[in-house]
């Protein structure tokens, strides 16, 4: 029975008691009176019946007031204190109870607060020790994380369910490139801890590859890995190498079971495209020219016949001219259109130009004892080189200059020239003939103990470059100019990946390894073990059915009881309607900010993918869900996920609190509110509040998703309609 009902019942009981006492007293006195006395009493009493009745009612009222006060002191205050105390016990150990009610209760509150202080200090002590112990584990994790992020290959580790446990930054970038979702969500809906790799890759393909690996493991193959090539939904080609993650060996000495797998991914779409283009060139140059050649050859052979009349002779010559011209055009076209594909047969690597020059300087100074200097180096330039052979060529040229012309210093200059880079080796001194240089270029490189079969020309050709000698007569200097292909700067780790929090992004969660044993029926799953997408929307107004629209969506994910800081979804949405100025005051989004943003038909599919396989959580979820559901028809995206509402959950946990607004709940749970009324800010606050609620719900016997939904439906707020 609720405290309020208890108060009502008590008042009713007291009133009844008063009635009974007065009635019994009257009856006893009446029975005791003699008939005469009764006759005398009636005329005295009956005119004053109303007065007596009024006195009785007043007595009842006074008792009720006294009871209400007593109730407040001894029932309501303790009930609220009990709720606060439960919060203190389960969710918010830094919370302290506020003294209220009578002196005894206040004294009691003081004792509880003192106990809480004591517990706090003990807990702090334990936490320090736990933190110490955890630090070493964390260090190892970080080492692994650092190693992973340095890898130039994309790496994704999954458990047997295909859930992603770990991935590196390269993988994230690669998945982003594959994503067709707009803006901030790009890639985030494909890769993320706990997400399914099957969103990107065919389930059967992975199953097949795993089978291969199991097979190899049984045969004790030295390298139980398997390779395959697959296409993604976006049509990209991935070359994948898969290796098993082995679990702990069982006691009986049997083989270690496979507990997951590692995927190393290479996007080979570009490579394949290049190869396809190369094929195309070959095709146009062979088959394309066959017909023309046939025409020419036939016509030429006809010209040999002596019995040819002049008109035919002219026509055959015409055929030859036409066809030869057509073949020339085709050749020119192929050469220019496919120039890029014809290059780079050699494995050239991208290198920072300044690094190349520095390496050349070191080599020349140590091998040849020749002084070097930098004349000019563009620090921003990247070159595409086979650094070993190129350094060999540069050193070789320097050695010839040093041996035959006795130069004392060699200067370097590295400048950009359109898509090319000029690397100049400059020296001052006597002029040399171009023939001499030509000879150097064509001789195998032999110098200072090195003996290469390659010539400088070979090396230059390998780079699809050029080289020549130029003289600066005024300065009495000359230089070799090596023209090399430039490279686009290598992608640095993009900073926005780290923007979401100051700590390293949570790229791994090994707790997911144990997921496979769990029951997948969501309703029976424990709240503490589910994956959640906590989201919030900002809208043009409160009435979706009257044309109000979503203008911003923010979402974050909870996995294994942790808020994933780096894994967010934040997107402005073009509402395709005007924005009421009064709504701007609430969410701070102005119409200009929405210009050029994707509309809801683009954003909801991305949100849907982001929220795949999770439970949706929102504060006052009915409101947000109504907006999403009204768009089902337009977008074809059905948000039929299980939904939890923190407003309803708060009402389950704290039925005696006045307010269940997000701010009030956050304050109760000691959650710092930052950036309220942005979709992302509210989503994060909601998520943090929700995490604090899970243990308190368990206290109330609400442990599984099914129980939470049932309890929420019963609360008063569930009957509110939007």
């Amino acid at each position: 029975m609720s405290p309020k009902n208890r108060l009502l019942v008590s008042v009713a009981l007291v009133c009844a008691w008063l009635l009974i006492v007065v009635g019994v007293c009257g009856w006893v006195v009446w029975v005791d009176l003699s008939p005469d006395e009764r006759e005398a009493l009636v005329p005295i009493i009956s005119p004053r019946g109303a007065l007596l009745g009024a006195m009785l009612v007043m007595a009842m009222a006074v008792s009720a007031i006294v009871l209400r006060d007593l109730h407040r002191r001894y029932v309501a205050v303790p009930a609220r204190l009990a709720e606060d105390g439960r919060t203190l016990l389960k969710a918010e150990p830094t919370r302290r109870l506020t003294a209220d009610g009578n002196a005894e209760t206040c004294a009691f509150v003081d004792i509880i607060n003192a106990l809480a202080d004591q517990r706090q200090s003990l807990q702090d002590d334990v936490e320090v020790r736990v933190a110490d112990a955890r630090r070493s584990v964390e260090e190892e994790k970080n080492r692994l994380g650092a190693l992973m992020s340095e890898l130039t290959q994309s790496v994704v580790v999954c458990n047997l369910d295909g859930r992603i446990l770990l991935y590196n930054n390269r993988a994230r970038l690669q998945f982003r490139a594959m994503s067709d979702a707009p803006g901030a969500a790009g890639g985030g809906e494909l890769i993320g801890l706990g997400r399914s790799i099957y969103a990107v890759m065919d389930r059967h393909l992975i199953a097949h590859a795993l089978e291969n690996i199991q097979h190899r493991l049984r045969k004790s193959a030295a390298q139980p890995v398997t390779n395959f090539v697959t296409t993604t939904r976006a049509g990209q080609l991935l070359r994948v190498q898969m290796a098993p993650v082995l679990g702990v060996a069982p006691e009986d000495g049997a083989d270690r079971p496979v507990s997951g797998f590692i995927l190393m991914l290479d996007n080979i779409t570009r490579t394949i495209e290049n190869e396809a283009r190369r094929d195309e060139i070959l095709h146009t140059l062979t088959e394309g020219n066959r017909a023309s050649l046939a025409n020419v050859r036939a016509a030429a052979e006809m010209l040999d016949f002596p019995d040819l009349d002049d008109e035919l002779r002219t026509r055959f010559r015409g055929v030859i001219r036409d066809e030869v011209k057509a073949m020339s055009d085709r050749l020119d076209h192929s050469a220019s259109a496919f120039a890029d594909s014809l290059k780079a047969r050699w494995q050239l690597e991208d290198m920072l130009g300044a690094d190349l020059v520095a390496a050349a300087q070191r080599r020349i100074e140590s091998r040849l004892s020749l002084r070097t200097k930098i004349e000019e180096v563009d620090e921003a330039l990247w070159v595409k080189v086979d650094s070993f052979s190129l350094l060999q060529a540069v050193t070789y040229l320097a050695s010839r200059l040093s041996d035959e012309f006795e130069i004392r210093e060699l200067r370097f200059r590295l400048v950009s020239a359109g898509r090319l880079v000029h690397l100049d080796l400059i020296w001052s001194g006597q002029a040399m003939s171009t023939e001499t240089v030509m000879n150097w270029e064509l001789e195998p490189m032999r110098f200072a103990g090195e003996n290469s079969p390659l010539t400088v020309r070979d090396v230059i050709e390998r780079h699809d470059g050029e080289m020549w000698l130029e003289r600066e007569k005024v300065k009495h200097r000359a230089f070799f100019r090596l023209v090399l292909p430039s490279a686009t700067p290598q992608e640095e780790v993009t900073s926005d990946v780290y923007l979401k929090g100051d700590s390293r992004p949570e790229y791994y969660d090994f707790d997911l390894f144990s997921w496979s044993e769990r029951n997948h029926e969501h309703d029976d799953q424990l709240l503490s073990e589910l994956a959640y997408t906590v989201f919030d929307t900002e809208t043009t107004g409160l009435n979706p059915s009257q044309g109000d629209e979503i203008i911003q969506i923010g979402a974050t994910r909870i996995l294994n009881g942790k808020l994933l800081q780096g894994d967010g979804f934040e997107q402005l949405v073009d509402p395709k309607r005007s924005l009421p100025p009064e709504s701007t005051k609430i969410h701070g989004i102005s119409p200009e900010m929405l210009v050029g943003q994707p509309d809801i038909t683009k954003v909801l599919p991305a949100l849907h993918a982001f929220a795949a396989d999770t439970v949706l959580v929102a504060h006052n979820a009915a409101f947000d869900m109504r907006f999403l559901q009204l768009k089902e028809e337009v977008t074809g995206m059905k948000f039929d996920h299980p939904v939890l509402d923190t407003l309803l959950l708060s009402a389950i946990i704290h039925p005696n609190q006045d307010s269940h607004r997000l701010e009030a709940i956050a304050e109760r749970f000691g959650v710092t509110v930052i950036g309220r009324h942005t979709a992302m800010g509210d989503a994060i606050v909601t998520a943090e509040v929700f995490l604090k609620m899970i243990p308190l719900l368990a206290e109330k016997g609400v442990r599984t998703l099914g129980e939470a939904r049932e309890a929420a439906q019963k609360t008063y707020y569930a009957r509110l309609k939007y």
């Binding site: 062979t286 088959e287 394309g288 066959r290 017909a291 050649l293 046939a294 025409n295 020419v296 050859r297 036939a298 016509a299 052979e301 006809m302 016949f305 019995d307 040819l308 035919l312 026509r315 055959f316 055929v319 036409d322 066809e323």
Partner: protein, 126 residues
């Protein structure tokens, strides 16, 4: 040679047709010409040539289709077919022969060899 043999040249490229036409006429054959696959079929039916010089890459109907249709029709199957093609791959040659072509020559070819093959296919000894 009692009666001159009839030859159909089916090719959409006038630059080769002019040479082939001259060459075949010079050998004393009765020459007709078709510029695409459909015309080739029509002329094979109407003129019933003894041999067709059939290009593979033609508009409307490819040489392969024409070949298949001719060899599938008992009334026409006696027509000799010499396929001429710019496709140099073994697989395509195999396809042509599998579809019933009597011979297959890859462009560019020697005109002398072509004449020899034509004679051979028509059972004439040059």
């Amino acid at each position: 040679m009692t009666q001159s043999k009839k030859i159909l040249i089916a090719d959409d490229e006038p630059n080769i047709v002019i040479s082939l036409e001259f060459l075949m006429k010079r050998e004393g054959f009765d020459v007709s010409i078709a510029g695409d696959g459909e015309e080739a079929i029509a002329k094979i039916r109407s003129d019933s040539p003894d041999l067709v010089l059939l290009d593979v890459m033609m508009p409307k109907k490819s040489g392969f289709d024409v070949c298949q249709e001719v060899k599938g029709d008992p009334a026409l199957s006696a027509t000799r077919i010499l396929m001429l093609t710019a496709k140099g791959r073994d697989t395509e040659m195999a396809k042509g022969l599998a579809l019933g072509a009597d011979a297959y020559m890859t462009k560019p070819f020697s005109t002398k060899e072509l004449v020899d093959r034509v004679h051979e296919l028509l059972g004439l000894n040059a």
